[in-house]
Each structure stands twice: as structure tokens, then as C-alpha cells.
């Protein structure tokens, strides 16, 4: 491993780290809701305070989403790779769980700080 390799590795790592930092530090406020979009074009919104399990059908696949303590996770899926289940819990505004075979997208929606000030 030469100095040039180290430069490439460090540069790319820092590039991705800066993308992550930008996403994490950006002031999107607190999580206010979980938005679920299905392949059929339906959109469901659950407040972050909701507690329970939601069964969803999207693109011919069945998923179960659990919302608890302000966090959401796909706990079961009948698709072959189950990447969405492996993604685990999401709770920060902007975070997503994407289930590709069924094209299901779960997004954490942020509560804008400005809204809180206005209220």
C-alpha cells in the first residue's frame, strides 16, 4: 500500500463522511411523523408518538412496520433479500427504509424548528 493509495482511501472516506455529517448536522428539526409510500401510489402518515404494528402491501409484497418510542422498523417482509428488515430502526429526520422488491419507502419526516417558534 503506497502513499497514493492512502490518499485515495482517505479522500474518499472523508468525502462520504462529509456527506454523512451534512445530513446529520442539517437542521431538519425533530421527527414528527413516519411517512409510508407504497408502489401503488398510496401514502400513509403516522405521528412519531404512534405505537403499534402496521401491515402494508406494496408491489405484491407484504411488510410489517413497527413504530415504537418514536422509532420505526420493518420487522417482517416476504421479499427474498429482506434488506429493509436488516436496515433496522430509523428515527432521525430524513432517514429512510427502502424495500426494493415492493418499492416501499418509509421516511422520517422532520418537524421544522420554525413551526415550533410560530406556535
Amino acid at each position: 500500500m503506497t502513499l497514493h493509495d492512502v490518499i485515495v482511501a482517505v479522500f474518499l472516506f472523508l468525502f462520504f463522511a462529509s456527506l454523512l455529517a451534512q445530513k446529520t448536522v442539517s437542521p431538519e428539526g425533530k421527527a414528527s411523523a413516519f411517512e409510508i409510500k407504497t408502489d401503488e401510489g398510496k401514502t400513509y402518515v403516522y405521528p412519531s408518538g404512534f405505537k403499534g404494528k402496521v401491515d402494508i402491501k406494496s408491489g405484491g409484497h407484504f411488510y410489517t412496520l413497527e413504530i415504537k418510542n418514536g422509532k420505526a422498523a420493518v420487522i417482517s417482509a416476504d421479499c427474498p433479500d429482506r434488506l429493509c428488515v436488516r436496515t433496522g430502526k430509523i428515527w432521525l429526520p430524513g432517514e429512510k427504509i427502502i424495500c426494493l422488491p415492493g418499492k416501499l419507502i418509509v421516511t422520517v419526516k422532520g418537524k421544522e424548528t420554525l413551526d415550533a417558534v410560530n406556535r
Binding site: 500500500m1 502513499l3 493509495d5 485515495v8 482511501a9 474518499l12 468525502f15 445530513k23 432517514e95 426494493l100
Partner: protein, 174 residues
Amino acid sequence: MRSTAKNKSFSFSGIKIAFLASLAISLNAVEELFLPAVPLPGVSFGLNNAIFLVFLNSLSFAEIAAVQALKVFVSALLFKGFNPIALFLSASGALSATAVLAAYKKYLYGTSFTLVTASILMAVFHLTAQIAAASLLVGNGAPFVYLPVSGMAAVVFGTAVGVVAGKAERAFNR
């Protein structure tokens, strides 16, 4: 006589392609065992990239492409039940990794950018292409939300595979 020579050369190339593809598929099988432990969408260890890196000196672009194609189709059949989405994602990643490897071989091979750089670039391009392909399937840029964390993991895994491949290449050429 000429046709016999041609056939011999083709069959040698065919055996080489089949041999390397079987090695790559075997490494894919090993990877499939451990991947469920990694909770990062789109991330793979890229163990099979080591095959291309170790034998890069003796592989033409066509041979790399042939090995990649065989690996993608057989792996999709064996490990993903020939799922068309998995096949599309896998093919787009392999295509991108092949293109970047060909560019590396043409412009950087033999310079101070060693196989570690090639491995990192393959891992990063493979991931980015898969995320782009996933975005195409979903119809929006949502999958790019995974790029930062998965990209950092790709750099780490790419470095590790590149270091091991570099050592293996030196051992083979000794």
C-alpha cells in the same frame, strides 16, 4: 492449422474464464453467509473483486467482462432465486466495477496507485451504480440516503480486499 491454433487459444481462454468465474462465485457464496450480519443496504465485502485484481495482469477487458457476466448470472440463480431486481442491481454494479477496472488497467496499472486503489474504486463504483440503479427502480433519489454510510464501508472493505489481493498477486508472481 490456423483454425486449430485459434480453437486452442479460445479453449484456454474459456477454461480461464470458467475457472475464475467459479472462484468468484465461490467467494460470493462465502460472502452470502456473512452479509446478513451487515445492516447496510447495498454494502458487500467485494471478496470476488480480489480474483480480478490478482489476475489483472493476464486478463483482457473481454475476459474480465465474461467472468463478471458469468458471476452475475450464476450468483443470481444460486443465491437470489433469479430475482430480476437483484439481477439488475448486481449487473449494474458489476458493469460499473468492470469499467473502472478497465480504466485502472489502462491508465494506472504499474504506477504508484497499486491494486489497493483499484479495489477501493471498484467497491465505490459498484456501490454507487447499485444505488443509482435502485433509484431508477424506485423512481426517485431516495436510495441515495444510504450512500454516505455505505460509501464509507465500501472504502474500508475495498482497502482490506486490495491489501490482501496485492499480497496474493506478489505471491503468485514470485
